[in-house]
């Protein structure tokens, strides 16, 4: 057989093709024409990069006790009269550089938020696929569970799960696995919406002829579900996921602000806001304001990106 008849597809070539398709796509077109979205994207990228390379990017390491000096405490931002150049956004009560704490805090916020969303998507999609594809009493039971959970506010569920986990686990292990507990709690509180979307997608795909064809061919049901149906329902799920990321970050911040989120040794933006809150009324406003502003900027940017993605992918709006 000549080379022409044996297409040999390497991974690199596939990726190259995908990039060319993207570059010519309507998606990219609508993206570059909306400055607000481009800005949101840049902000998100900046946060992610800063958080990933925190040790390289942050001017100080705020969590290394050796570098901390109580004499550095309570410096206001550098542009004010009493500020100090080496602490751009000021310092907190223990002499930690606020800018550095924000960078390290974003890292935790992003990790927890991202992991929680991935967890809810995986759980929700699996449940939704099974429910929509198999139908019958499995569908009825799973969806009633989802419905019941949806009547309770997500945050309360997260608090509940978190509280149960804390009391159930031995106190020594608490610190180490606290972060996993938080991820689990937030993840569990959000799966029903992905399940619903996946379910309706599965229900509409399963009556399509390509599924019937796969059955005639003899493809086992679980392969049909994962290799045929799943790729066709991922679109709306991923869009929901980007908005869900913003929600997860906010949820984590709320839990940490309330003191039941990540442990204080690995503070997130929410923890920082809580710490700063104590000093708000004694005049050291910068300790809470800047972490709060950072949180708002991050969540807003991710939210805007999610909205744009949903509109750009909606064929009816094109």
């Amino acid at each position: 057989m000549s080379e022409q008849h044996l297409p040999n597809i390497t991974l690199g070539r596939r990726m190259g093709e995908a990039m060319v398709r993207f570059a010519r796509s309507d998606l990219l077109f609508s993206f570059v024409r909306q400055p607000v979205i481009v800005l949101a994207f840049i902000i998100t990228v900046v946060f992610v990069l800063a958080a990933t390379f925190a040790p390289l990017v942050a001017p100080h390491d705020p969590f290394d006790p050796a570098t901390l000096n109580l004499m550095d405490a309570f410096y206001p931002p550098a542009w004010t009269e009493e500020g100090n150049e080496s602490f751009f956004l000021g310092t907190d009560n223990q002499g930690r550089d606020i800018l550095s704490t924000i960078i390290y805090g974003s890292r935790i916020s992003l990790i927890v938020g991202f992991a929680a969303v991935v967890f809810s998507i995986v759980l929700g999609v699996l449940v939704g696929l099974l429910s929509g594809f198999v139908g019958g009493w499995i569908d009825a039971v799973l969806m009633r569970i989802a419905d019941i959970q949806l009547t309770i506010p997500g945050l309360l569920i997260a608090l509940l799960v978190d509280g149960i986990a804390r009391s159930a686990l031995p106190s020594g292990a608490r610190e180490e696995i606290a972060i996993y507990v938080v991820i689990f709690a937030i993840g569990i509180s959000a799966w029903p919406q992905y399940a619903r979307v996946a379910r309706s997608g599965a229900m509409s795909e399963k009556v399509k002829d390509y599924v019937a064809s796969a059955r005639i061919i003899g493809t086992p049901s679980w392969i049909i579900l994962l290799r045929h149906v799943l790729p066709n329902i991922l679109g709306p799920v991923l869009v929901l996921g980007t908005i869900g990321l913003a929600l997860a970050i906010t949820s984590e911040a709320t839990l940490s602000f309330l003191g039941v989120g990540v442990p204080p040794t690995t503070p997130s933006l929410g923890t920082l806001i809580r710490i700063g809150n104590d000093f708000l009324f004694s005049g050291e406003w910068w300790i809470t304001l800047f972490p709060a502003a950072a949180l708002v900027a991050l969540v807003l940017a991710v939210n805007l990106l999610g909205d744009w993605l949903r509109d750009a992918l909606n064929p009816k709006l094109r």
């Binding site: 022409q4 002829d209 061919i217």
Partner: protein, 338 residues
């Protein structure tokens, strides 16, 4: 008939459309049942094409899906080469891939996220071929249906409707089937594309010795492709005849009405007095002969008794009027003076 590849005996299918089945039976309410197929029997000899024609609510698509095992019959049975068809693609004793299906909607019948070569390769599951051989075979099949091996790299949305139907055909052929159920394969295509696809299917039948069950609502298309034609109305088979006989001398009043109703290109004035009414609600078909409300020859017996399919020599009709020999001879409407 011993050389019949497919035998359908007394096939029935009733769909339960009740909204909350458990609740309804618990409270003693009435179930909503749709008798989509009611006692259908026919045979298809090897290498021939059986055309099944009918309007909406006739049940022809349901029959198609049962023949290939996608739906379980409520009654009756389907035999393929002597073995019962019990599950999608055949069932116990019937080798994988001997029965295949081509669908109506070229856009929904292939997975838009898969490459064409993978779509075709999936159908080769039963044959233990290496990846290399599978890809090579897929390329050969694409050539056979009028595309090129290089098209295997592309995604379905890069093809037109007619080309996607060719991909469907290539996929169906990948398992070396003997029997192909074609459910309105050209209804969604333009006339010139339809001609290409019908010609291709004829070619393949001659080359590969395939047997077709061809479903359509379009009598002209069915007349072109079939050897024998079966006419269905509201779940029942009302007439079976070899193609030429059916169109020269239709016996059942419904078949006659269809022939009068089809728009013709010969443009002569013709009488269409029997073209009245519409297909009744399939959920509640008329008692007795389903066609009696629209039939110019219906009498008291027609309103009470179900007519049975009676006939010999490959021709059969389910009509009291025919049985009682009280129907006038049919005049071809196109031979009427203007």
């Amino acid at each position: 008939m011993s050389d019949a590849l497919l035998q359908v005996k007394n096939l029935s299918k009733t769909f339960d459309l009740t909204e909350n089945p458990w609740l309804t039976t618990a409270t003693g309410g009435k179930r909503v049942l749709l008798p989509a197929v009611d006692g259908v029997s026919f045979e298809i000899p090897k290498g021939k094409t059986f055309g099944l024609v009918g309007e909406s609510g006739s049940g022809k698509s349901t029959v198609a899906r049962m023949c290939v095992g996608l739906l379980q019959p409520s009654g009756g049975e389907i035999g393929f080469a002597g073995k019962r068809v019990t599950s999608p693609g055949g069932g116990r004793g019937i080798g994988r891939g001997r029965l295949q299906m081509i669908f109506q909607d070229p856009f929904a019948s292939v997975n838009p996220r898969w490459r064409v070569v993978d779509i075709i390769r999936e159908a080769m599951r039963a044959k233990n071929l290496s990846s290399r051989d599978q890809i090579a075979r897929a390329g050969a099949l694409l050539d056979q249906v009028g595309l090129t091996a290089a098209d295997g790299e592309k995604f379905p949305h890069e093809f037109s409707g007619g080309q996607r139907q060719r991909i469907s055909i290539a996929r169906a052929l990948a398992s070396e089937p003997e029997f192909l159920v074609c459910d309105e394969p050209t209804s969604a295509l333009d006339v010139s594309v339809q001609a290409q696809i019908l010609n291709l299917m004829k070619e393949l039948q001659n080359e590969l010795g395939l047997t077709y069950l061809f479903i359509s609502h379009d009598l002209a298309v069915v007349s072109h492709v079939s050897d024998v034609v079966g006419v269905m109305y509201l779940g029942r088979l009302v007439e079976i005849a070899p193609k030429a006989k059916l169109f020269e001398a239709p016996q059942h009043p419904y078949t006659r009405m269809l022939l009068e109703a089809i728009p013709r290109l010969d443009l002569k004035e013709r009488h269409q007095e029997s073209v009245v009414g519409e297909v009744a609600n399939p959920l509640n078909p008329p008692k007795g002969c389903h066609y009696h409300p629209r039939c110019p020859f219906a009498d008291k017996r027609c309103k009470k008794d179900d007519p049975k399919l009676r006939g010999t020599d490959g021709m059969a009709v389910a009509c009291h009027g025919v049985e009682e020999a009280r129907l006038p001879a049919w005049k071809d409407p196109t031979l009427q003076p203007a």
